[in-house]
């Protein structure tokens, strides 16, 4: 995982390095003297070769420093760490809600295959994977805040103000996991070992929920893991819609201010979070599927 994260930082750092604009001019304003500009440049370390800059950056990361913001002149971590809790809280909450709702919905759709319920769930899921998050957010806001006035439209620190952003952010994952769960459940239900279970007298209910569900949940976990990136990427738009002071919002603001170190800091944080979630997904696999567990144990022995 660590090499991947470092490669990710390298990539992000490389792309952002190509960003046009002189940070020093931004920081000091128009009336700075050439000497002062040169001095500041050296202090920021942007006169060094790219690889040296990168190496220094990674070195500093391990001590918790994300570099100096070109906008505030202070360490990036200051504002980044202030924003992180919002994003973590929101994303994990959204993921939790999505998973808790999508698995039963997918199972229901598969068990009642070709019924009205199945069609409703399928249509709902199709909308979920097709609708842009920011639009869903706007529509929910129109309905619940401006229309019925039951929920606040912007973040105000109360639990109520989490409801709409959570639903919005989790909607896409909810939909894709539902779709996956439905199709994998359909597949597993026609597997030979389900027939074996039925043949030894296992009831329909137990065949579905004991024998099939645990097998069918594996692809859903994969999709949830893969979709976490999309989910957290959606934060950028959602935090804008609902005015939440999270990492996504910080990133957009920093881009507009050409505050490259802060942008990089945000990207690094998000990538690390995605990698951590994917690691957890791998561990979850091993918990559910003994075949994968055996592979891990074998690999561990070496």
């Amino acid at each position: 995982m660590i090499p991947v994260v470092i490669a990710v930082i390298f990539l992000v750092y490389g792309i952002m390095h190509m960003t046009p604009g002189d940070p020093v001019a931004v920081m000091l304003g128009a009336d700075a003297t050439p000497e002062l500009i040169q001095e500041t440049r050296e202090a920021l370390g942007i006169t060094d070769p790219f690889l040296v800059q990168f190496a220094n950056y990674v070195k500093n990361l391990f001590t918790g420093h994300f570099g100096t913001s070109w906008y505030t002149g202070r360490d990036v971590s200051e504002r980044l760490f202030a924003a992180i809790p919002y994003t973590i809280k929101l994303s994990l909450l959204a993921m939790l809600v999505a998973l808790v709702l999508s698995i039963p919905m997918g199972v229901l759709a598969a068990v009642k295959h070709n019924s009205l319920g199945d069609y409703t769930i399928s249509i709902f899921a199709m909308i979920g994977v097709s609708a842009p998050t920011f639009w869903v957010g706007t529509m929910l806001m129109l309905l619940c805040s401006l229309g019925w006035g039951i929920l606040p439209s912007a973040y105000d620190g109360t639990w109520k103000s989490y409801v709409l952003p959570t639903i919005t952010q989790g909607f896409n994952m909810l939909a894709s996991v539902t779709r996956t769960q439905r199709s994998s459940m359909l597949e597993v239900l026609s597997a030979d070992y389900i027939r074996t279970a039925r043949a030894k007298g296992v009831s329909n209910f137990s065949a579905t929920y004991k024998h099939a569900l645990r097998n069918a949940i594996i692809p859903s976990i994969t999709v949830a893991g893969l979709n976490f990136g999309t989910l957290i990427g959606g934060a950028v738009a959602i935090e804008t819609v609902f005015a939440i002071p999270g990492v996504g919002r910080l990133m957009i603001d920093s881009i507009k201010l050409h505050d490259t170190p802060t942008v990089i800091g945000c990207m690094v944080f998000v990538s690390v979070m995605v990698s951590v979630i994917n690691l957890l997904v791998d561990l979850l696999y091993a918990l559910i599927d003994p075949r994968i567990k055996a592979q891990y144990l074998k690999g561990g022995k070496k």
Binding site: M16, M126, A131, T133, A237, S271
Partner: protein, 293 residues
């Protein structure tokens, strides 16, 4: 024996025909295909109805925020431009970058996946590690990073949309090549002395097309979704060029009392993207041989 017998050799019914026959039976997928065709047709005909510069881009404050009427079926926006006209031109922008971006991703990702899948070994390993890195960065954020480094024009937008989707195509092409590569008919082709080139093109790639085709349709939907988000946060297609994302963004301040402003572009996005998704799903079902029974 009987030479006078008129020989009747049935015409070939290709797999593509079979797939189309089964696709046609899928009502939702056919509906999606029709909707999508209408959207594409409307963007093609737009120039016969409107003047792009005058109707879609120039500001007409007098007319601003008019609710839907006969004259303006979807109303006018905050700068007095006809929503329907901008919606149709917006489709042009979204579809163009969506298709360009997906094609770019397919070209690069597909080539990498094909190389990795067919030859395997260290090269394959290297390619797979690179896709791991790309996959660790959320696609949208990668687009944003790229867009913050480059100018917002159709080329760079497509490029950024494409780059963020490369790894998915690499994986899909690679896995479908892997599944085909070990099929006996590929071995059979080698056994009759076919060249590497002919094996890859005629036997391997031809049989990998199905899942790639499905993914292509789904990817266009996803790319349009991304570009609308990019435009919404101001990093994609820039005003005054109309795009569904920046139309929604512009409407943000005025939605109170003017709900129609978000309905048009939103529904257009939903329809277009779900059409691509439904077509992708339909293709997948039509190509699934298990359904034949």
């Amino acid at each position: 024996m009987n030479a006078a017998n008129t020989r009747k050799i049935p015409k070939k019914k290709s797999q593509a025909y079979e797939i189309w026959r089964r696709f046609k039976k899928n009502k939702t997928a056919m509906a999606a295909l029709i909707v999508l065709s209408l959207i594409i047709l409307s963007t093609l005909c737009a120039d016969f109805i409107w003047d792009y510069q005058k109707d879609a881009c120039s500001i007409n404050i007098k007319n601003r925020l008019q609710h839907p009427s006969w004259e303006h079926p979807l109303g006018t926006d905050e700068l007095g431009r006809d929503m329907l006209c901008r919606l149709v031109y917006g489709a042009r922008a979204s579809l163009t970058v969506g298709i360009l971006g997906t094609s770019f991703a397919l070209l690069v990702g597909g080539t990498l996946g094909a190389i990795g899948g067919y030859y395997g070994g260290k090269l394959d390993n290297l390619i797979m590690r690179c896709t791991d890195v790309l996959l660790a960065i959320p696609g949208l954020l990668l687009c944003i990073a790229i867009m913050s480094a480059f100018k917002s024009n159709v080329f760079y937008i497509s490029l950024s949309l494409g780059i963020s989707y490369i790894s998915k195509f690499t994986r899909i092409v690679r896995s479908s090549i892997l599944s085909v590569r070990d099929q006996e008919y590929v071995e059979a082709a080698r056994a009759i002395g076919a060249s590497d080139f002919s094996i890859i093109t005629k036997h391997v790639l031809m049989n990998c097309m199905a899942p790639i085709f499905v993914q292509y349709a789904l990817a266009i939907g996803s790319r349009i979704l991304s570009v609308s988000t990019l435009s919404y946060i101001g990093m994609g297609i820039q005003a005054p060029t109309p795009d569904w994302g920046n139309m929604l963004s512009g409407a943000r301040a005025f939605i109170r009392g003017n709900t129609y402003l978000v309905m048009g572009p939103g529904v257009a996005l939903l329809l277009t993207i779900s059409s691509f998704n439904l077509i992708g799903d339909g293709l997948r079902d039509a190509m699934d041989p298990r359904l034949k029974k």
